[in-house]
């Protein structure tokens, strides 16, 4: 019964979306306020109905209703509750439903908080947003309906892929989708502005919070995914340049570019048509990402619904929205003349270079991801493009970005003098170079990656320090002035420092990892680096829906016990799949990472040990970047511009 209600709500939401796509658009064109006003309640209704449908599906998973085909395929009655819930989106159909749920949520938020937008712009934004929703509702209802029943319900389900049964991965998809779909708001604003034929500072201000929110979610989503890969896949890599990872990374790069170019639109009324183009492309890459994951066109560890029919459908959606938006863009871009005038050396120019590097870096990732396909289709060569290519072709752009960032961010608007801007930074530049040089001298003569990354990280973090010191001016009141800096400035500082921390972390892990592979006998210690490890015990345990072989490893330094690690090897009988759970001791400067394998004939166990310097910094930096975004988002000027001061507040009941 609940399932049928959910199915019905989904169809109803589809109908509402069609109305919301058509009526406000005509209303905005004819200036009929009644027709425009349809958008607002429709957006709310669409969200409520989709939430109902999603809730119904989740109910099916929570109660293990195996008469639902989707639940039978992806769940099991013995699965822990957390994974029953996360199982709702751990499959193609459910994740698409989550996708539209978030899409309609953003639409509803734009309706609720968009009180200050001009009525025509708001009507058009909501209509475009709804057009995207129509396409995806149709996709779900016609090719991937989650509410299909089975005639004879089986006794139990087939379980969720064990790799996905993990807290990190339970929340990885929702965050990623919040990011992907959040970019649809930027897209809707861009298309609405093109229809409207006008882009001004206010537009820049309105579109920025949405982009910022999307970027924050993408950052968190990607970080969670890479963290999961690090501790779950058993050899301690954090990024694999897998097509699906690239699919999430490309929108992230473009969203980062868009964030920065929207600042130029807002403050200086320049870069308008480029910003519009970026907004269109950023969402375009989100759609391409969806296409890559769902079509099975590119082989990937994530490929999870290899169905050509679905692929073609998404390709059509992609073609329609990108084609339509880009045609509109070529027709209208000419009318968006920039106003602001600035010198060749200025904050504006620095932001142009930022955009250039991010966009070209994104292009490199795109070409690398699609190349195997292109080479096979046009050149009859079956080849692979793997991490070595991306490391070589992508990294230089990030290095360049890191080099110019501190200089660009202290430059004044309009006109700057390069040497004047660099003057206050010269000490930290030398200091950062010295730090990089020191690490080069201390390492055992290997790659340049480590020293370079450490130099860039120090340069970025200390550059932020210099910038903050500069902002406080001179004299006695500096501390007070520092605390009174706008939140957006704190956001900028935190996010930029976070980038530095992440770069240093990546360099540390890549350049200075030590590893050791051996057959360990019980209670016979071995040394890795400055640590002594001992396998003291191996036990067989039962989890709720898996069998586990758990090793106890003592980690000691100079005879003193540092930590006890518990690497596990799990086997999920229903899915017939083994997984590894690494035992990790993480501290500020290094991770010790231990994985246990099979028992050998002589009674010992295979054990792999890694010492990974600075590894935790990778995710610490990501957290800082996301936190910086949150600071910026809470800045007063966005609330003013987004109209929160005027928006009807929902009364909060007293506790």
């Amino acid at each position: 019964m609940i399932t049928e209600l959910g199915h019905f709500a989904l169809i109803l939401a589809f109908a509402v979306a069609i109305v919301q796509m058509v009526v406000p658009l005509i209303g905005a064109h004819k200036r009929w306020s009644g027709w425009m006003a349809v958008a607002e309640p429709a957006a709310g209704a669409q969200f409520a109905l989709t939430a109902l449908a999603f809730g119904a599906l989740m109910w099916g998973f929570v109660t293990s209703d195996f008469s639902l085909r989707l639940v039978w395929l992806n769940s099991h009655s013995a699965k822990p509750m957390l994974y029953k819930i996360s199982g709702t989106w751990g499959n193609h159909e459910g994740s698409m439903l989550l996708w539209v749920l978030i899409l309609t949520l953003f639409g509803a938020m734009a309706a609720w908080f968009g009180g200050n937008l001009p009525p025509t712009l708001r009507a058009r934004v909501l209509a475009v947003q709804s057009a995207i929703a129509v396409a995806f509702f149709a996709f779900i209802l016609f090719t991937s309906n989650p509410f299909l029943r089975l005639e004879t319900p089986p006794f139990d389900g087939q379980d969720l892929n064990p790799l996905l049964q993990d807290p990190g991965l339970a929340f990885h998809p929702p965050f990623l989708y919040l990011g992907y779909v959040g970019l649809s708001m930027a897209f809707s604003f861009a298309v609405a502005a093109l229809i409207e034929g006008r882009v001004d500072a206010a537009w820049g201000r309105w579109v920025r919070p949405w982009t910022l929110a999307a970027w924050i979610f993408l950052t968190i989503g990607i970080a969670l995914g890479s963290w999961w890969a690090y501790y779950e896949l058993g050899w301690g890599g954090f990024w694999f340049w897998d097509p699906v990872e690239n699919a999430s990374f490309m929108p992230w790069l473009l969203a980062a570019a868009l964030l920065h170019s929207a600042i130029v639109v807002e403050k200086r009324e320049a870069l308008k048509s480029w910003t519009i183009l970026l907004a269109i492309l950023a969402f375009g890459f989100s759609l391409i990402g969806t296409f890559i994951v769902r079509s099975g066109l590119l082989t990937s560890v994530h490929a999870f619904a290899n169905d050509p029919e679905r692929g073609v459908f998404i390709l059509m959606i992609l073609g329609f929205f990108m084609g339509g938006a880009l045609v509109l863009f070529t027709l209208r871009a000419g009318t968006m003349e920039a106003k602001g005038v600035f010198g060749l050396v200025s904050r504006e120019s620095a932001l142009v270079v930022n955009n250039l590097l991010l966009a070209v870096a994104c292009f490199v990732v795109f070409v690398g991801t699609m190349w195997p396909l292109v080479a096979e289709m046009f050149f009859d060569r079956k080849l692979s493009v793997g991490p070595p290519f991306f490391n070589a072709a992508f990294t230089p752009f990030m290095v360049a970005l890191g080099l110019i960032l501190p200089v660009g961010s202290v430059m004044p608007w309009k006109r700057a003098r390069i040497f004047k801007a660099m003057r206050p930074l010269r000490y930290v530049f030398v200091l950062a170079l010295a730090l990089g040089g020191l690490s080069y001298a201390m390492q055992t003569g290997r790659s340049m990656i480590g020293p370079l990354g450490l130099f860039l990280g120090a340069w970025l973090v200390m550059g932020v320090g210099v910038e903050l010191a500069q902002r406080t001016g001179r004299g006695s009141d500096r501390l007070r002035r520092l605390t009174r800096l706008p939140r957006a400035d704190w956001g900028k500082a935190t996010a930029h420092a976070g980038l530095g921390v992440t770069i240093a972390g990546i360099a540390g892990l890549t350049a200075w990892t030590q590893d050791d592979i051996r057959v360990a006998q019980l209670n016979k210690p071995w040394n890795v680096g400055k640590y002594e490890l001992t396998l003291t015990d191996v036990q067989d345990l039962r989890g709720p829906n898996y069998l586990s072989t758990m090793g106890m490893v003592d980690l000691a330094q100079k005879g003193e016990l540092v930590a006890q690690l518990r690497p596990e090897k799990r086997f999920y009988p229903v899915a017939q799949m083994p997984t590894t759970e690494a035992g990790i001791d993480s501290d500020f400067l290094r991770d010790v990472y231990v994985v246990i394998g099979d028992q050998q004939n002589n009674g010992g166990w295979t054990v792999r040990t890694y010492i990974k310097p600075l590894t935790a910094w990778i995710w610490l930096g990501c957290a800082m970047m996301a936190l910086g975004g949150v600071f910026s988002l809470s800045d007063r000027r966005f609330r003013v511009a987004a109209g929160a001061s005027k928006a009807r507040r929902t009364p909060v009941p007293a506790e």
Binding site: N74, N161, V364, A375, R381
Partner: protein, 150 residues
């Protein structure tokens, strides 16, 4: 999901990336083998190198690679030996030959192009220009002022 699960079942016995019995006694040779195997793709896996992979085929390739190195092959010879048997697909780092120039050149070329466009834009911006836009209406101007004042 299903094909993936079925696929995993084929390799259900928990195998390993590099195993202790594969490691060569000569640490220099072993390091060379590790470095080379990071650039070779496990053919039955999805986007994993043979150094990381747990599949049986990857183990075979790792052993083959080590055999060649022990037999005195140079790095290049050993890799060529494997490419000759398994095709170009096995290389994770696409060689700069033929059409692959496009792949490797894409980034630098795009940077040049975009750099040129950006530079010409910046030059135009540094010379004063006006007009072309729809000006704000009276109402909008008052509204904007109101917003900015707040």
């Amino acid at each position: 999901m299903k094909p993936l699960v079925l696929f995993m079942m084929l390799f259900a016995a928990p195998l390993w990336a590099v195993q202790p019995d594969e490691i060569l006694d000569d640490p220099v040779l072993e390091q060379r083998a590790r470095d080379l195997s990071k650039g070779l793709r496990c053919l039955v896996c999805q986007n994993e190198s043979i150094d990381e992979s747990e599949a049986t085929l990857a183990r075979d390739l790792r052993l083959l690679l080590r055999e060649r190195l022990v037999a005195g092959d140079s790095d290049e010879q050993a890799v060529d030996f494997i490419v000759a048997r398994y095709g170009e697909f096995v290389l994770l780092n696409p060689p700069v030959t033929g059409a692959n120039w496009l792949l490797w050149g894409a980034g630098p070329l795009m940077l040049l192009l975009a750099g040129g466009l950006g530079m010409s834009y910046l030059r135009r911006r540094s010379v004063a220009q006006t007009g072309g836009e729809v000006p704000l209406t009276q109402d909008e101007q008052t509204r904007l002022n109101e917003i900015l004042r707040r």
